[in-house]
Every structure is written in structure tokens, then in C-alpha cells.
């Protein structure tokens, strides 16, 4: 029974591996959830040795909203649900470094997700390099789910939307509730020890990249204007200016004449993301 099972496994695995290697270009970067999106993004960056990017953006889900199509020769290595440290950890492990690295300032107090980095550079690093079938992008169930989902979206969803168009309602208080949670959070002063630990870690990463000739630029993603000047935002901002003096490092600050609302207090709405991306592009061009 064991031998037969292993034989079946080998047949399926080999067939799928061949299929993937032939049709790999037809697979899009499908992700069923944000963790998978992170893994796919990181893997496509790590294993894509042909592309060399001049600029790399490192950040959290906040920077993930930047519209990368509007930023030429740029790779957005921002990860939803994570911090800047995962992107920095990846950059210290690869050879093809960019000319400039843009580091988000907002989510610096979150711990580095070591499991994530370990999963990318584990014992499977080399098998994944040569066997595409092992990469997240080619997961069979995820791709099957996408086909099912596309059919639902294409055929069923429009009918349901037509049926619901007059009845559809959203939770009007949700935004206020989410913003309230963020106001509470931003009113709290971050723990000094954690600040020190994370900024020390950041300084280590930054100096390691600088030694390799990479230019470092810090930028702050816009959040809801009510949060901008609350204690947490100010303390973190000042700590950046303190640890990384503005005469030595470039900073892209939030455009002063704009009041961003966001969808939940932190993440830009699509129209706001487009507006900020254009601002960011101008800043990026002037720095480079």
C-alpha cells in the first residue's frame, strides 16, 4: 500500500511539475489570502534573477496600496500584516541589490516575522529555485479555487448584484468604529524598550545596505488625518529623525495640504492610493 501510494504521488507530482514548467507563464500571481500574497510576492522577487530594479519599496500593508504600475523600474516588496523588517531581511540575503530602497516609517514597531523569512530561505530554498511546482504561485487548489471564483464572479455575481442592488447596505458605523480603535491605539505611547530594540535592528539593516552602496530613503504613508499628530505617530516620526538625521538621509513626508480619510483609519482608499502614488513618483524622481 505504501509503495503504491508513493508511486501515485510520483506520477501526479511529475505530471504537474511538467505542466507547470511548460505553462508557467500562463499562471498569474493568484493569492487566496494575504499570507499567500506575501509569499508569492517574495518568491517572485527572490527567484526572478533576470530583473534588476532601481528602486525597491519596503513596507507594510499601508505601502502595499501604492499602485506599482505607476512607478516604473520599481518593485513593491511591502507585505500585508507585516512590517518593514521582512523586506529588509530579504534584501540582506540576495545579490542583486537596487540603487535605492524606500523604507516605510509607519509600521516600525511590529516584530520581524522570522517564520516568514525562515519559510523563504529554508531547506526548500534550492528545491524551489529549480522546481517551480513547489512555489506558492503554483498551488493546485489555489489555482482551482481561482477558476471556480472567476466563474462565480462572471456568471452568478452580476445576477445577485442586480437582485440586491436596491437592498444592498453596508455597515455605516464600521468606519467610525475602526477609526476609534486606531485613535485609541495612536493615543498610547509606545514602549521605550521596544522602540529601542526595533530602531537598533533597523539601523543595523540600514548600515548593512549602505555599505553595499544602496541609497536609503524613508517615507511616511498617509493615514487618516485625525491620527497624524497623535502621540504614537509623533513619537515614531521623531525617533526616525533622531536616529536617521535629515542631513544624511532623504525623507518623503506626508503631503501637508491633503487630508486623507482612508478606508479604516490606516489604509488608503483606491482613489487616495492613486493620488498618493503620483505624489510619491514625483518625490522618487526628484530624489533619484
Amino acid at each position: 500500500m505504501i509503495k503504491k501510494s508513493l508511486f501515485i504521488f510520483l506520477v501526479i507530482f511529475t505530471s504537474y511539475a511538467i505542466f507547470v514548467s511548460i505553462y508557467s507563464d500562463n499562471f498569474t500571481n493568484i493569492s487566496a489570502h494575504h499570507w499567500q500574497e506575501n509569499v508569492n510576492k517574495a518568491e517572485s522577487f527572490i527567484y526572478d534573477e533576470n530583473s534588476v530594479y532601481s528602486n525597491i519599496i519596503l513596507g507594510s500593508s499601508l505601502s502595499n496600496r501604492l499602485i506599482i504600475d505607476s512607478l516604473p523600474n520599481c518593485f513593491n516588496l511591502s507585505f500585508g500584516g507585516q512590517s518593514i523588517f521582512e523586506g529588509l531581511a530579504i534584501l540582506t540575503r540576495i545579490d542583486n541589490l537596487p540603487k535605492s530602497v524606500f523604507i516605510e516609517m509607519n509600521i516600525v514597531l511590529k516584530e520581524e516575522n522570522e517564520d516568514f523569512i525562515e519559510s523563504l530561505f529554508s531547506i526548500l530554498y534550492y528545491p524551489k529555485k529549480y522546481l517551480k511546482v513547489l512555489r506558492g504561485k503554483f498551488q493546485p487548489i489555489t489555482n482551482f479555487g481561482d477558476i471556480v471564483n472567476t466563474r462565480i464572479t462572471k456568471f452568478i455575481l452580476p445576477k445577485i448584484i442586480v437582485l440586491n442592488v436596491n437592498n444592498s447596505k453596508s455597515n455605516p458605523n464600521l468606519f467610525e468604529k475602526l477609526l476609534e480603535i486606531q485613535v485609541d491605539r495612536y493615543n498610547k505611547i509606545p514602549k521605550e524598550k521596544k522602540m529601542e530594540q526595533n530602531f537598533n535592528r533597523l539601523q543595523t539593516y540600514v548600515s548593512s545596505l549602505e555599505k553595499k552602496g544602496v541609497k536609503i530613503v524613508f517615507f511616511e504613508m498617509p493615514i487618516n488625518y485625525k491620527l497624524n499628530n497623535l502621540p504614537r505617530a509623533q513619537i515614531v516620526r521623531n525617533a526616525f529623525f533622531d536616529k536617521f538625521p535629515s542631513n544624511k538621509y532623504n525623507f518623503i513626508s506626508i503631503p501637508s495640504n491633503e487630508n486623507y480619510i482612508t478606508s479604516d483609519g490606516l489604509h488608503l482608499k483606491p482613489d487616495e492610493a492613486l493620488k498618493y502614488t503620483l505624489f510619491f513618483k514625483n518625490q522618487m524622481d526628484s530624489i533619484n
Binding site: 500500500m1 487566496a32 468604529k177
Partner: protein, 466 residues
């Protein structure tokens, strides 16, 4: 150390090699103990002291029960049980009690509220209690008396029982009278490879493909995110969570059973297709069997079980289920979860005693669906330990009907939940002889393929927190 990590695979191979090395055959128990202590201390070495302290207490008091003066046996056993309960109480429930009496900023309150919860403490403490009661009852322990007459030998056996790595951090809860008699020299030829293969492949599939993927969808049940989803999406996610918790824990148990068998030890099944239960009573005969049988054997029956009339039986049921709920965590929501199950058992018993329902297939299917739905709704107390959030969740479930469902979330949740239903259905069809084992190898080949190509992100097992 997680069962689904590469470090663990390395650890397992080395331990397995040393265990069956002919030159070390005399030291098999020592090899397993050393490996288990290394396994436990891998991430937090300091926790090892607590495990060793707990083991020492159990060794000393159970040895005294076995070899001390007869009239003191009961006292030693009682002290042993009390110390086990106190250790569990201190590390697991002090914070809950402290919340009632101290402010968070208070230095004493802060000390009590920040007592760390050592991983696996609920499991190995219950095993300690089992040891005390079993040696006191002195039923199945002939081989302890005969083979471990010296304190050192006896201590080795108890330490292995308490620390054996496959069941150390998330069960199944192994009872002393089941495990200790199995401690003897094991041979490589005694391994049932097919059984091990079936357990490990099914276990890893349930954990890595089903539970680890589902967790990234059911994550959105957390507060405050659930407030933004439609009723249909919330309902699907809740049923997905029900499948996730089953796949996670049943998967872990199967891996533990398979690993134990690699070293010549037999554990009983911890799950017997619980989502095909037609009643809560049946559910508790099929779900986390090692916990329910522990509570029945060491709590429900000693309390009088069903021998003292209806009222007392019902009270016993409620008490046992509330304690069972609390065993899962130091939060009132777990007690409410236990109370819910206890009440369900009592109401069900009342109905069964007073209403005669003729059984047929339609009624059976209705009962299965009803039990599954009720059990699933109760799992929300596990996902949202804050009871106010639970109420908010049900409000959203009721109010968010008009919102457009998130079809991507629904599709993937259903796809990843499907294997859990298939697993149950496959078992049912085999039970009814519609299917045989002849073509199982195809399923196992597919499961292995999906483990390699479609595993989710590595996540801790849900039951680690208990």
C-alpha cells in the same frame, strides 16, 4: 518544536535511529526521555524545570502510594492530586482570578496577570492526576510493581509517561494505566508501517493542507474585522472554523498516534468522525476522546455519574462540562462553552427520556445536521474569547444580510473545508461496506501530493494554547 517543521523531521530521524540502534537497545527509555526533554525545551529551555518539577512530584507521591504504608496511601494520592491541580491552577488560572481583584497597573496584579502559560501544562498535569488515581486504585499496575521495584527505575517510567514527546504538548491525554504497562523493550520489526503511514499522511494532510490554509480565511472572524462582512460570508467562515479546528486537532492527534507507533507505543484514537454524531452525547464519545474519557473516568463517575438520580446526574453533567470548558482556557467564554455543551447534554437527555422518536434515515440526517450546526455555533466562543465580541458577532450575523458576500473568501473556505466532509463521508461509506481499502492508495498518493505542493503557512496547533 512543531511537528510540521524541518527541525522536527531532523530530530525525529536522529531519535529513531538511536532508539533502534542495537548497541543502545538497553537504553531505549533513556533515549526517549532525553529526546522528549530536548523536544520540550527546544524553544523555551526554562520551561523544562517546571516539567521536571511536575514529574518529580508525581514520581515521589505515586511511589509512596505504591510502596508506602497502606493506611497512608489515600493521603499520598490526595496530596499528589492536589499539587497537580495547584500547579495547573497557578500557571493557568491565576490571571483569571487576579483580574477580579487587582488592577492591571497594580504591581501585584501585573505579576499575576503576566504569569506565562507553559505549553502543554494542561495535558501533562492531567496525566499526573491520572497517574495518582491509577496507582491508588492499583488496578492495572502489576508490571510497575514487578519491573520497576527501585525508585530510579520507577522514576524513569513515570518520567517517560509524563514527557513522551508525541503527546507532550497537545495530547492525546494518555492515561497511566494505558501507557506505563507498554514500557518495555521494543523492536524495529514490531512497527506497523502501514498504520504509521496512514496516520502520518492523514494527520499532516489535515493539518498542513486543510487547517493551515483555512486559518488564513477564518482569521477574519477576529474582532473587529468580522463587522465588515456579510451574513453569508460570516456563516461560511464560522463553518470553515469548525472544519479548521477539527482538522487541526484531529490532524495533530493522528500525527501523535503515528509517531508513538514508530517507537512501539499504542495510543487510542482521539477522534472518531465526530461531525457525524447524531447527538451531543455521541459527539462527546467521538470528539477529543482522551479528554472526555478522562473526565468521565476521573470526575463524572467519582461524582456519582448517573447512579444518584436524575437531578444529580444532570448536575454532574453540567459540572463536568463546565470544568471541561475551563480546561481549555482561563477565560469565562470557555466556561460558557462548557456550560452550553452541558446544557445541551441535559436537554437532550430529558428529550430522550420522555419522547420516543422512531429512527429512520431522514431523522438521522436531520439529527446529524442539527448537532453539527449547534456544535459549530458554539466554536465561536473559542475564536472570540471576549464574550462581548461574541454577541457583536451574532448581531452582525443577523444584521449584515444586505451586504454583498465576499465570494472569494466563501469559495476558498468551502474548498478547504470540503476534505473534512469527504473524510467523514469516506469513513461512513467504508463502514456501510460501499467502499473497501483496495483503492486507498490513490487517496494517499493525492494527499501526499497536496502536502508537498499545497500546504498553508506554518501555524501553531490550536490546542497548543490549552
Amino acid at each position: 518544536m512543531l511537528f510540521n517543521s524541518f527541525v522536527f523531521i531532523g530530530f525525529l530521524l536522529i531519535t529513531f535511529f538511536l532508539y533502534y540502534l542495537p548497541i543502545l537497545k538497553k537504553y531505549q527509555v533513556q533515549v526517549l526521555i532525553s529526546a522528549s526533554l530536548f523536544f520540550y525545551s527546544y524553544q523555551q529551555p526554562s520551561l523544562l524545570f517546571l516539567l521536571l518539577f511536575s514529574a518529580l512530584i508525581n514520581i515521589v507521591f505515586s511511589f509512596l502510594v505504591l510502596n508506602g504504608q497502606r493506611h497512608l496511601m489515600k493521603i499520598y494520592a490526595t496530596i499528589g492530586v492536589i499539587i497537580n491541580v495547584l500547579i495547573l491552577f497557578f500557571f493557568k488560572y491565576t490571571s483569571l482570578v487576579a483580574k477580579l481583584f487587582f488592577a492591571e497597573n497594580d504591581s501585584i496584579g501585573s505579576f499575576f496577570l503576566n504569569i506565562p502559560l507553559p505549553i502543554g501544562i494542561s495535558f501533562y498535569t492531567f496525566q499526573g492526576i491520572s497517574l495518582m488515581i491509577d496507582v491508588f486504585r492499583n488496578g492495572n499496575f502489576n508490571n510497575i510493581r514487578n519491573n520497576s521495584s527501585s525508585f530510579i527505575d520507577y522514576g524513569k517510567h513515570v518520567l517517560l509517561f509524563k514527557s513522551f514527546f508525541p503527546q507532550l504538548i497537545a495530547g492525546p491525554i494518555v492515561k497511566a494505566h494505558d501507557f506505563i504497562p507498554q514500557i518495555k523493550s521494543k523492536s524495529f520489526d514490531g512497527i506497523n508501517w502501514e498504520f504509521v503511514f496512514r496516520c502520518l499522511i492523514t494527520g499532516y494532510f489535515l493539518k498542513m493542507v486543510v487547517a493551515d490554509n483555512l486559518k488564513d480565511f477564518t482569521y477574519w472572524i477576529s474582532f473587529p474585522f468580522f463587522q465588515g462582512y456579510s451574513s453569508l460570508t460570516l456563516l461560511t467562515m464560522l463553518f470553515g472554523y469548525s472544519c479548521q479546528i477539527f482538522a487541526d486537532f484531529a490532524g495533530y492527534s493522528l500525527i501523535a498516534i503515528g509517531l508513538a507507533n514508530l517507537f512501539g507505543y499504542h495510543f487510542f484514537n482521539n477522534f472518531d468522525f465526530p461531525y457525524f454524531s447524531r447527538s451531543f452525547k455521541e459527539f462527546w464519545r467521538r470528539w477529543h476522546i482522551s479528554l472526555s474519557s478522562f473526565l468521565k473516568e476521573y470526575l463524572y463517575i467519582p461524582l456519582g455519574g448517573n447512579r444518584l438520580g436524575n437531578l444529580r446526574t444532570n448536575l454532574n453533567l453540567l459540572l463536568v462540562m463546565i470544568i471541561g470548558g475551563f480546561w481549555h482556557g482561563a477565560d469565562w467564554s470557555y466556561a460558557i462553552w462548557g456550560l452550553f455543551h452541558g446544557l445541551a447534554l441535559v436537554v437532550e437527555k430529558l428529550i430522550m427520556d420522555n419522547v420516543k422518536i422512531k429512527g429512520n434515515k431522514v431523522i438521522s440526517i436531520f439529527k446529524i445536521l442539527l448537532t453539527f450546526c449547534l456544535v459549530t455555533f458554539a466554536w465561536i466562543l473559542f475564536k472570540l474569547p471576549n464574550f462581548a465580541h461574541v454577541i457583536e458577532f451574532f448581531k452582525c450575523l443577523y444584521n449584515n444580510f444586505g451586504q454583498t458576500p465576499n465570494y472569494q473568501l466563501i469559495t476558498y473556505t468551502l474548498i478547504y473545508s470540503f476534505p473534512v466532509f469527504l473524510y467523514h463521508l469516506y469513513h461512513y461509506l467504508k463502514l456501510k461496506k460501499y467502499l473497501t481499502d483496495n483503492y486507498d492508495f490513490i487517496l494517499f498518493g493525492i494527499m501526499l501530493f497536496l502536502i508537498i505542493t499545497n500546504s498553508g503557512s506554518t501555524g501553531s496547533f490550536i490546542y497548543f494554547q490549552f
